[in-house]
Amino acid sequence: MSDTRFSEEYEGPLLEVTDVKTYFETDRGVVRSVDGVSFTLERGKTIGIVGESGCGKTVLARSVMGLLPRRGLIREGSVRFEGKELIGLTPREMRAYWGSQLAMIFQDPMTSLNPVMKIGKQITESIREHLDVEKKYALELAESLLRSVRIPEPQRRLDDYPHQLSGGMRQRVCIAVALAAGPKLLFADEPTTALDVTVQAQVLDLMAEQQRERFMAMVLITHDLGVVAGRADEIAVMYAGRIVEKAPASVLFRDMKMPYTQALLSSIPKLADASHTRLATIPGRPPDLVKPPKGCKFAPRCAYVQDRCGEEEPPLTPGASAGHEFRCWFPVGTPEGADALARNVERRLPAALVLAAADTVEV
């Protein structure tokens, strides 16, 4: 497997996302899907972006990659890839990056592959677009790609159509397609959500392996904290278009501060629980992105909510460890937070009761 090309000139981080905003103009108003997100990513590292459906993570990924339809789109902020600014480039200019520098795999492998095109063709297409090689060589490359993603009988598979493969295999093919031109950065948007549980781990392991071999950076997007545990170097938790907590993985699980993160973690069912343990879900639903409420966006569903939360939106404040940021007035694990929770339990706030009933979170 060839190493991805090195760019000798640039010394800084591979990807710098600074205060990116992505809004859509619709009949109902302006939908603020991504409302000021920042993070950086170095080569070979993985950042996990975690959040519920509707929090803006998919829009973020597509926005950073520049894949959103342009009509009615408002993009602000800065996305620097190897120091070069991507926001403001036309799709034509972006094509120089797509496939060869940036790649993406999507949630549902069945709909990500062209149903009427052979798999081999879909891979070689990418290869021949970016590398000036002959068809024969491209096919060989495709075959070895399929082998590297552990697809049995790769040569035969080249002539197959997507519907002839199982879900797990299809996702592997998508990975092969995405990696065909040797990109430096891979966005994986809920790569395992549509797959069987047994297959999920395999695909994730495969992706990690490819990443190591190619020294590739990865943005792993999911709603499942369990997926990023142990696989991401850094984790960013998103809610209502903003990052509400960001930390190196170990720090996050050990020392989470934002109640939403805690709620997410406690909603994962654990094997150690007794059977029939009630799942701790987060009550309520995400806010309207056209007219978001004042103050903290998570306040209506938060177990720690106090009056201040409804008035002022908390800024990103650094935490105890390096690289840890969070947005909360009454964070978890602090005296103010504990007081707030106690008060809410007394008031019989549903979210607080749910949390109190759940086991203490330990990782």
């Binding site: 894949l67 060869s100 149903p115 009427v116 095109m117 990418s126 998508c174 065909a180």
Partner: protein, 331 residues
């Protein structure tokens, strides 16, 4: 797979039989007596005319019981005997040999022209959906749909034929298909000249329909995930449109274009009359005018059979275009 083909063929034969029966009934159940038309003054009994009428009746087989007529008819059709013109004795198959290739070529040219314009327009308007260009093209298409094809034909004949004198306004010269059917020889230049205006007239109405169909399917396809995936691979928009989006979107277009083939053959009647082409349409009109019901019956039957055959082929073509259907059918 074989079972599938067999069942399709069975359906084909069944429909043909039904249509043959229908045409047979149509002609026999209408008010008035066909003999009346051939020998109008037979009312006076005992006259020469009355005798003649009896002869005619016998010749046409109309004196036999209904059921016998029907069986004889089916038998004839099955063996390929499509009857003769009364009076001249000219077999219908002769009429077919000259008329059918004309209609077939006209229909083919019209379809090719229509698709040549409609496909790029459909792709373009889907790609640029919602823009002014799209709206302009759609409005024009709408207008084209409203224009009756005979009016357009007359206008084209007027403008291009009479005023500009670029092309002939009527008449037909044999083309490449004619030698296969009859002993006419191809006269390519004049053939093309004589076919351009009628083919174009027919095509215009289809362009609007095909374009809108393709556009609507393409717009839906362009929103699918695999298109975004293709974009994320760095492929050019052009490649994506033509190599990725077009094929899955063309199914409805294919169905309609295929079904239209049969309709076009018959529906081109008016165009054939306006431009003086001796095709199936003209033949049918002629048979009607001359009250040649036997010919008429057979001509309509042939048209219907063609239509059914085309549908059958279109169905088969589906599986080629979309491999998923191949699998679903086999299951």
């Amino acid at each position: 797979m074989l079972r599938l083909i067999a069942s399709r063929i069975l359906q084909f034969v069944l429909v043909l039989w039904l249509v043959a029966t229908f045409t047979f009934l149509l002609i026999r159940l209408i008010p008035g007596d066909p003999v009346d038309v051939i020998v109008p003054t037979r009312r006076i009994p005992g006259s020469v005319a009355a005798e003649r009428a009896k002869e005619v009746r016998r010749d046409l087989g109309l004196d036999k019981p209904f059921v016998v007529q029907y069986v004889k008819y089916l038998g004839n059709v099955a063996t390929g005997d499509l009857g003769r013109d009364y009076g001249s004795g000219r077999p219908v198959t002769d009429t077919l040999k000259t008329a059918l290739p004309v209609s077939l070529q006209l229909m083919l040219y019209a379809q090719i022209l229509a698709l040549t314009f409609a496909i790029p327009l459909g792709v373009f308007t889907a790609y640029r959906a919602g823009t002014r260009a799209d709206r302009a093209v759609n409005a024009t298409a709408f207008g084209m749909l409203a224009m009756p094809n005979f009016v357009l034909g007359l206008l084209l004949a007027f403008i291009v034929g009479a005023e500009l004198k670029w092309l002939p306004t009527s008449g037909y010269s044999p083309g490449w298909l004619d030698p296969l059917f009859s002993n006419r020889t191809m006269d390519l230049g004049p053939h093309i000249e004589s076919m351009i205006l009628p083919a174009f007239t027919l095509a215009v109405g289809q362009i609007a329909v095909y374009m809108r169909l393709l556009r609507s399917d393409m717009i839906a396809t362009l929103q699918e995930n695999f298109i975004t995936m293709a974009r994320s691979k760095g492929l050019s928009d052009r490649r994506i449109l033509w190599r990725h989006a077009l094929r899955p979107s063309s199914i409805t277009l294919l169905t309609v274009a295929g079904l239209n083939v049969g309709t076009l053959i018959g529906g081109a009647v008016v165009i054939e009359v306006i431009f003086g082409l001796g095709g199936m349409g003209k033949a049918i009109v002629f048979a009607l005018n001359q009250k040649q019901y036997v010919s008429l019956q057979s001509l309509i039957l042939v048209l219907a059979a063609l239509f059914v055959l085309v549908n059958f082929l279109v169905d088969a073509l589906y599986t080629v275009v979309d491999p998923r259907i191949r699998r679903a059918r086999a299951a």
